[in-house]
Every structure is written in structure tokens, then in C-alpha cells.
């Protein structure tokens, strides 16, 4: 088991390295750089002369070849924990992103828990009571959850919450708490807000997982080992949980791997719509103005989180399934 863990962690290193290169290439792909955007924005109000532009380009190192820029950026991160400078804000990236990353991470994690909490019981119910009214209802809502775009769901829920429940919507806390220190009231207020993005972002994932759980469990429910367990005199609930559900759980856990990136990227539009202080809106803005180090750092860190998520799901899988562990 330990060997397996080490091996998996070692495999992560080249993956992350490749991700960093691809990230850097992608943020360099659009023609021009931040200074072109800046020049275009300022051209209405007189503009910058070409001398100033050249000086700035020199200062930011934007004239150098891509691999030199990459080298500076990646060594800065590796050896100094320095993610570079945000051109637009004129602040170190480090000062800008961690708060937002924290929220993104927190919302993704809570969303994952929400998805599990919803999908597991409903998926089990759907499989055990196949073709019952409840199963059809779950299927119906499942497909609606899959089909409705997140941002639309966000708009509808915000409207309903505002119009009929008089709740303040948008953001993670009410306006009066935004700069307030953390108090019990603020936490309560946070909980009143945070469920909405969680539900919005999690709905499609939960719908997909319900279908997966149902299909997996249906595959297992009529296996001979279930009959054996029944013949031993176990109660239906006991044997259901200990045997088929336990086996059907495997794909459920491996979904962490693919569900994390969809959560993070699915969250971007929702975060813009709901005005959440997460990385989504910041990344979008950074990409628009070609604030390359900010955008690159965000993409890199989110990718790293995804790779970590996959690692965690693989380790969990090895932990619950001896057949994987003993390979």
C-alpha cells in the first residue's frame, strides 16, 4: 500500500510539470500582450507614447522569448513562492489570489459533499426500487438537473429567494458583513448565502452521479454474492449496505477525479452571475485583459488541485478496494 502511495505521488510530478508548460503556452496564445490591451484602453485618453511602452515591456520582461519568461515564472514559484505580478492591479499575484482560492476550494469541497449526500441515497433508492414512482421522479429531476444550465438555475434561484423570501442574494455574505470581522452572526449569514451556489453548482453533478450510482448498483444487486448474503440470514438493509452498495461505491469515489475540474470550471459562470468572491470572476477578467501571470497562476493552482483530487480519489479507491491495492 505504501509503495502504491509513493508511486502515485511520484507520477504527479511530471503531470504537474506538463500542466504548467501547457498553462503558460495557453495564456500566451492570444495575440499581443497586456501592454497592447493597456495601450488600446488608454488610446482614447491620449495614449502612451511608444517609448513608455517599450520601457514597460522591458520592465515586465515581455519582449523576451517565451521559454525565458516561462523559466523566470516557474523558478520564481518553485524557489520563492512568487507567482509574479498582476499587471492590471500592479500587485503581487500572491496578494490577490489566496482569499479567492480559499473560497473556491471551500465551495468546491462543500459542493462535492452536497453531491454525495444527495446522489448516494437517491441513487441507492432508485436502483433498489427500480421503475417505482420514486425512481421515475428521481430520473425526471435528474435529467432536468443535467439539462438546465447552471447560470439559469442561479438566476431563477436568486430571483425566487429575493422575491419570495426577501433574502439578500449575490455574494457570500450580506453587504453589511463584507468587511466585518468573523462573528457568529457573520457565519450564520454566510450559511444563509453559501447553500445557493452549492446547490446551483452541484445539481448537474448530483444528477449525473445519481444515474451512475443507479446503474452501478443495478449491476451488483442481482449478483450471486447478494444471494449468499441473503441466505446467511442478514437483513435486507444490512446486506444491501455491506455488499452491493460497497462494491458499487468504487466508481462513485473515482468520480472525485473528474468532478473536481467540472466543479471549478462550472463555478466560473455561476460566480460571475452570483457575484461570488471566488477565482472564477478574477480568472475571467485576467484572461480578458491578458494579465498573464495572474491568469497563469490561477490556472496552474486550480490544475494542481485537480491533480491532487485525482490522487486522493485513487488513494481512497485503493483503500476501499483490495483488488486495486494488490495489483
Amino acid at each position: 500500500m505504501l509503495g502504491y502511495v509513493y508511486r502515485r505521488i511520484l507520477y504527479m510530478i511530471p503531470t504537474v510539470f506538463l500542466v504548467s508548460i501547457v498553462t503558460f503556452i495557453i495564456i500566451q496564445l492570444p495575440p499581443g500582450d497586456y501592454l497592447d490591451t493597456l495601450a488600446a484602453e488608454l488610446s482614447d485618453s491620449g495614449g502612451l507614447d511608444s517609448g513608455t511602452l517599450e520601457a514597460l515591456r522591458d520592465q515586465y520582461g515581455l519582449g523576451q522569448p517565451m521559454y525565458v519568461q516561462y523559466w523566470k515564472w516557474i523558478t520564481g514559484i518553485l524557489f520563492h513562492g512568487d507567482f509574479g505580478l498582476s499587471f492590471e492591479k500592479n500587485l503581487p499575484v500572491n496578494d490577490l489570489i489566496w482569499d479567492r482560492l480559499g473560497w473556491t476550494f471551500a465551495i468546491s469541497l462543500l459542493t462535492l459533499l452536497f453531491i454525495w449526500a444527495v446522489a448516494l441515497p437517491i441513487g441507492i433508492y432508485s436502483a433498489v426500487r427500480k421503475y417505482s414512482v420514486g425512481d421515475y421522479a428521481a430520473t425526471f429531476f435528474g435529467f432536468i438537473g443535467l439539462a438546465v444550465p447552471n447560470f439559469l438555475l442561479a438566476l431563477v434561484m436568486m430571483y425566487v429567494a429575493f422575491k419570495y423570501f426577501g433574502q439578500s442574494v449575490g455574494g457570500l455574505v450580506s453587504p453589511e458583513y463584507i468587511d466585518a470581522p468573523w462573528t457568529w452572526d457573520k457565519i450564520v449569514d454566510l450559511l444563509k448565502h453559501i447553500w445557493m451556489p452549492i446547490v446551483v453548482v452541484g445539481t448537474s453533478g448530483a444528477a449525473a452521479l445519481i444515474r451512475i450510482m443507479r446503474a452501478n448498483l443495478l449491476d451488483e444487486l442481482y449478483r450471486p454474492y447478494v444471494v449468499t448474503a441473503r441466505a446467511k440470514g442478514m437483513s435486507e438493509f444490512q446486506l444491501l449496505m455491506r455488499y452491493p452498495v460497497r462494491v458499487a461505491l468504487n466508481p462513485f469515489i473515482s468520480t472525485i477525479g473528474w468532478i473536481l475540474p467540472t466543479l471549478v470550471s462550472g463555478e466560473i459562470i455561476v460566480a460571475v452571475v452570483m457575484n461570488l468572491p471566488t477565482t472564477g470572476p478574477m480568472l475571467l477578467r485576467a484572461l480578458l485583459v491578458q494579465d498573464m501571470y495572474l491568469a497563469g497562476s490561477l490556472i496552474l493552482i486550480v490544475s494542481l488541485l485537480t491533480v491532487l483530487g485525482t490522487l486522493i480519489s485513487d488513494l481512497l479507491l485503493a483503500w476501499i478496494d483490495p483488488r486495486i491495492r494488490y495489483q
Binding site: 449478483r223 449468499t228 440470514g233 455491506r242 462494491v247
Partner: protein
């Protein structure tokens, strides 16, 4: 000794059992009116081709027939150690009474030990689970009992195997572990559903010997389901031959092998290759095919393949079970009707 003169009350008395499957294409009568007695300390072999309903009949006893199968008629009377009887056919699905009998009074082992054991649960855990559902024991005591049981069924290094998974064991070891699990609560009846079909011949013999040995040790009844006449000859004391959901002949193993009464039993026995038999002769086979379960012949179900088919008799009514020779058979050849006609 014929079955009818058995001195003690039978452990399980099956009367007119009918288990039908309600499929979209129609009702499949997998078990269609079976009468059978299972006795303590005796081995009863249920012999029949694939699809004759022997497995479903056995599963009906424990009420573990999967949907869309259902017991539609008949009774399965189980007599417990205290002499009280319970009709398993009428017991509510998943009821406490039924669950108390499963695994404790009547245990079952299955054909494919690999797929019949949980794939990602430790062998030991699966055994202690059985013990703990029926016995007031601590986990440590259950573990001790389980290891003793693994040792008893001939698994080397039982304490290590306790921690093993099914995929780490060989086929024979898996079946031994299955047997250990089934016998962990010392059941009064062991139902073995083709326990050796998935095993090689050497292992088969070992497993059959083990079952026979444990039967004597625990004084339990054994119901062994098989399509293998060799297995029957080796372990059976009583035999019931099934064809298309019905028992066509029952008797003790000697009468069945030496003096079979039903044409189907005779045909089955004739189709076994014999050592030293004349060469250059085709092995006799039962002609035709088993009829489709949705197109059961009227009257006697075997008449379409029977060499003694009597038009106007066999296709009109179902033959009753009557005592003939040393056994009981359901065939008009042995009834008054046939002799009159």
C-alpha cells in the same frame, strides 16, 4: 430402504410447491408441483438437466428466489429442533422468523464460489458476519469460531486465510471457505447447489468427501443439487429426479440406479459412458430437446421425448406419483390406466 418407511419426521416437507416466473413473455413454471421430504442425517440428491427447476426449488426453500419468480402455491414445512413447524412458503419476505432460519437452521452453498463470495470483503469477515447474526457472541469469539471452522474444512493456515479476500484463494479453497461459512452456525440442513460444477475433478472429489464427512459429524441433512450422475452415485442416499419443474421419480440411490422406473431416469442412466463397454457403438442419448418452458406439453411433460409414449393417455392427464418397484415414479406405464388401456 424406501423413502416412505423413514422412521423420523422429515426436516423439510415440500408439498405441491409451485414457483413461477412472471416474465413479459408469459409465466414460466420453473417449479410446478414438487413433493419432497428431506431428512436429517441423510443426503438427498436432486438430479436433473439444466433448467429443470432444481435450483429454483432449492432456493424456494430459503425464499431467495429473485424477482420475477414467486411461490404461487404449496407449502414448505420446516420442523425445527424443538419440533415446532413453520411453513416457509408462507413466511413474510424478509421477516425475522425467516431470517433466523436462513444461515442458522438451513444454510446454502452455491455453484460459483468466486462470484458467490463478496468480492471486496475479507473471507473472515463474511464468516463472522453469519455467526454474529445468529449467535450471541463477541467479535473475538466469532473470529475464533470462524478460524476453527476454516481449519475444519481443511484450509491451511486458517488464521492467515481469515484475512484473505476471495480473489486470493484457489477455486477449491474458495468453495471450502463457502462451506465453512455455511456450517459456521451448525445448520440442520445444508443445501448445496451444484457445489462442484466449477471445480476440477480432483477438487470435486475432495469437496464431496468433505461434505459427506461434515454431514456425519454434524448429523445434518444434505440436499445436493447436481446434473452429474457420478456425484449422485458417490454421495447420495436418496435421489429425486426432476424434469421440467416436476419430480418424476424418487427413491433410495440403489433402487434408482439398479431398478429405475421412470423412462426419463432410465434414459439418463443409459446415456452415461461406461468403462469397458463395447466400442464402435454410439452412446445413447435422449432424443429431442427439452421443450421451451413457455410451451409445456400437455399431460406428461416428458412424453415428447419418451420412447413409451402412449397416445390418448400420456398427453391427456398428468401422471400421479405412485409407488412402483422400490421407488416412486410418475408414469402411466405403472398405473392401472395404462394396464387397462
Amino acid at each position: 430402504m424406501p423413502l416412505i418407511q423413514m422412521p423420523t419426521d422429515p426436516l423439510v416437507e415440500i408439498r405441491d410447491l409451485q414457483t413461477h416466473f412472471f416474465t413479459d413473455d408469459g409465466v414460466v413454471k420453473a417449479v410446478d408441483g414438487v413433493d419432497l421430504d428431506v431428512h436429517a442425517n441423510r443426503t438427498l440428491c436432486i438430479l436433473g438437466e439444466s433448467g429443470c427447476g432444481k435450483s429454483i426449488m432449492a432456493r424456494s426453500i430459503l425464499r431467495i428466489v429473485d424477482a420475477p419468480g414467486r411461490i404461487v402455491n404449496g407449502s414448505i414445512t420446516y420442523r425445527n429442533a424443538g419440533g415446532e413447524t413453520i411453513d416457509l412458503a408462507k413466511a413474510r419476505h424478509g421477516s425475522r422468523a425467516l431470517r433466523a432460519i436462513r444461515g442458522q437452521d438451513i444454510a446454502m452453498i452455491f455453484q460459483e464460489p468466486m462470484s458467490s463470495l463478496g468480492p471486496i470483503q475479507k473471507i473472515g469477515k463474511q464468516i463472522t458476519e453469519t455467526i454474529l447474526s445468529h449467535r450471541p457472541m463477541s467479535k473475538a469469539e466469532a473470529k475464533e469460531t470462524a478460524i476453527e471452522m476454516l481449519d475444519r474444512v481443511g484450509i491451511p493456515k486458517p488464521a492467515e486465510r481469515f484475512e484473505a479476500y476471495a480473489f486470493e484463494l484457489s477455486g477449491g479453497m474458495r468453495q471450502r471457505a463457502m462451506i465453512a461459512m455455511a456450517l459456521s452456525c451448525q445448520p440442520r440442513l445444508l443445501i448445496a447447489d451444484e457445489p462442484t460444477t466449477a471445480l476440477d475433478v480432483t477438487t470435486q472429489a475432495q469437496i464431496l468427501d468433505l461434505i459427506a464427512e461434515l454431514k456425519d459429524e454434524f448429523q445434518m441433512g444434505v440436499m445436493l443439487i447436481t446434473h452429474d450422475l457420478g456425484v449422485v452415485a458417490e454421495v447420495a442416499e436418496d435421489v429425486a429426479v426432476m424434469y421440467m419443474g416436476k419430480v418424476v421419480e424418487t427413491g433410495d440411490v440403489y433402487s434408482i440406479f439398479e431398478n429405475p422406473q421412470h423412462p426419463y431416469t432410465k434414459a439418463l442412466l443409459a446415456s452415461v459412458p461406461r468403462m469397458g463397454a463395447k466400442r464402435q457403438r454410439r452412446l445413447p442419448a435422449i432424443r429431442g430437446m427439452v421443450p421451451h418452458p413457455l410451451a409445456r406439453p400437455s399431460g406428461c411433460t416428458f412424453r415428447t421425448r419418451c420412447d413409451h409414449f402412449m397416445p390418448g393417455i400420456c398427453d391427456v392427464a398428468e401422471p400421479p406419483m405412485i409407488a412402483t418397484g422400490d421407488s416412486r415414479a410418475a408414469c402411466f406405464l405403472h398405473t392401472e390406466v395404462a394396464q387397462d388401456g
